[in-house]
């Protein structure tokens, strides 16, 4: 296999891989193009972040791409309702790897203030893996920039090879997830087990 050989070759040249990795991560982290994707109130703050006062463009991230095919980052900015969730997941699926997700605001993380609503998804991380969460309702534009830098840091820490390499470099891990369907009472399935293991034990042991 060509890639196997290549990998062996590369691991032999450790330095080369390291520089490659650095270059790769540097390129990725400085060119994160978000998907034009706003859901609710948080989207307004997201827009405000790209506006003159906060200017997300300074990080090279003003290239909001309307097509998921060209986007790297999905900023889930707002309430994900059950009616919208399949679309969100589908959009996520249609983004090419490497892709990142920022859950912006209480609603995107957990349903937030609307969590008691019958049509509100209790956090987008039930269906897609989230890289960075920003609490707040809505988070200030600065908070989004901070989250953006957190994401950059996260990208910077990823390795090209090895067992801890991120999902998109690992052949075995999926890059698309099940799209929930509208059921008679609720979405089916109610969560995606690949990214949403029951978090109870964690929550309980924490207290």
């Amino acid at each position: 296999m060509i890639d196997e050989q290549l990998k062996i070759e590369l691991s032999r040249q450790g330095i080369f891989t390291t520089t490659l990795e650095e270059l790769y991560n540097w390129g990725r982290k400085n060119s994160v193009w978000p998907l034009t994707f706003g859901l609710a109130c948080c989207a307004i703050e997201m827009i405000a972040t790209t506006m003159a006062r906060y200017d997300l463009a300074r990080f090279g991230a003003e290239v909001f791409r309307p097509s998921p095919r060209q986007a790297d980052l999905m900023i889930v900015s707002g309430t994900v309702t059950k009616k919208m969730a399949p679309q969100v997941v589908r959009l996520y699926n249609q983004m090419p790897e490497p892709k990142y997700v920022i859950a912006m605001g209480a609603c995107a993380i957990s349903g937030g203030p609307f969590k008691q609503g019958y049509n509100v998804l209790k956090g987008i991380d039930r269906y897609v893996p989230v890289d960075v969460h920003i609490p707040g309702c809505p988070p200030r534009p600065e908070a989004l920039i901070h989250a953006f830098m957190t994401l950059q840091k996260k990208i910077d820490g990823q390795h090209l090879s090895g067992a801890d390499r991120p999902r998109h470099l690992n052949e075995a891990l999926p890059s698309e997830f099940v799209v929930p369907e509208y059921g008679a009472h609720d979405l089916e399935p109610r969560s995606n087990d690949l990214v949403w293991p029951l978090p109870m034990s964690k929550a309980v042991t924490q207290g």
């Binding site: 009616k83 008691q116 209790k122 956090g123 109610r190 964690k202």
Partner: protein
């Protein structure tokens, strides 16, 4: 024009129309007229085009779900006499079945007055939930009646396009009804509420 005047005007203009005044005991004193199903279209047309009132603008259309109850709130819908709540309660109105109610708030753009409030009631909450649609009179009711159909399950006869509007097609419940029980899912959130925590412990015990 007082509510009584409106009532008598309607009754004299449209013979046979049953118009009942529902008094509002709160300081707002926004009383309303309960109409019967057969004459409501005629009454509405009259109110819009012919009467002194010229109620050409239908602002708000909403549904209310009245459960079968024996509580004192019945007063303002059952009792024609003000301020005798106690007596009514004693009468034990338990026999009153629940019903769905639709309320129209009408204003006049031309004469700049309002609101005149119309009410319509279904016979019960299960099978006989048909009401005449006022969309042909006031287009403004189109989406709002669809919403009521969606959330309360009132079926508007004569509505041009009665589909679900807020929830997805294929959803079977009417979530704004007061006895709607939503699918039990936010319970498993890691929020530290006591019963949630209890459930979590059980859950994680099982896992």
């Amino acid at each position: 024009m007082t509510i009584e005047q409106v009532q008598s005007e309607i009754q004299s203009a449209i013979p046979g129309a049953k118009v009942e005044i529902i008094l509002n005991p709160s300081p707002s004193a926004q009383h309303s007229l309960l109409l019967d199903h057969e004459h409501v279209l005629a009454v509405a047309t009259y109110l819009r085009d012919v009467s002194e009132l010229r109620l050409d603008y239908c602002s708000n259309v909403t549904g209310i779900d009245w459960l079968p109850r024996e509580k004192s709130e019945k007063v303002k819908v059952k009792n024609l006499v003000e301020g005798v709540e106690q007596e009514v309660e004693e009468v034990h109105k338990t026999v009153v079945p629940g019903y769905l109610e639709v309320v129209y708030h009408l204003f006049s753009v031309e004469k700049k007055h309002g609101p005149v409030i119309l009410r319509l009631r279904t016979e019960d909450r299960a099978a006989k939930v048909h009401l005449p649609s006022l969309t042909p009179i006031w287009r403004a009711a189109e989406f709002q009646e669809r919403e009521i159909f969606d959330l309360y399950g009132v079926i508007f006869d004569g509505h041009p396009d009665l589909r679900r509007i807020l929830m997805w097609e294929g959803f079977v419940d009417h979530p704004m009804r007061r006895d709607y029980v939503e699918p039990d899912d936010y319970e498993y959130e890691p929020t530290p509420h006591d019963h949630v925590l209890q459930r979590s412990r059980e859950e994680s015990g099982r896992h």
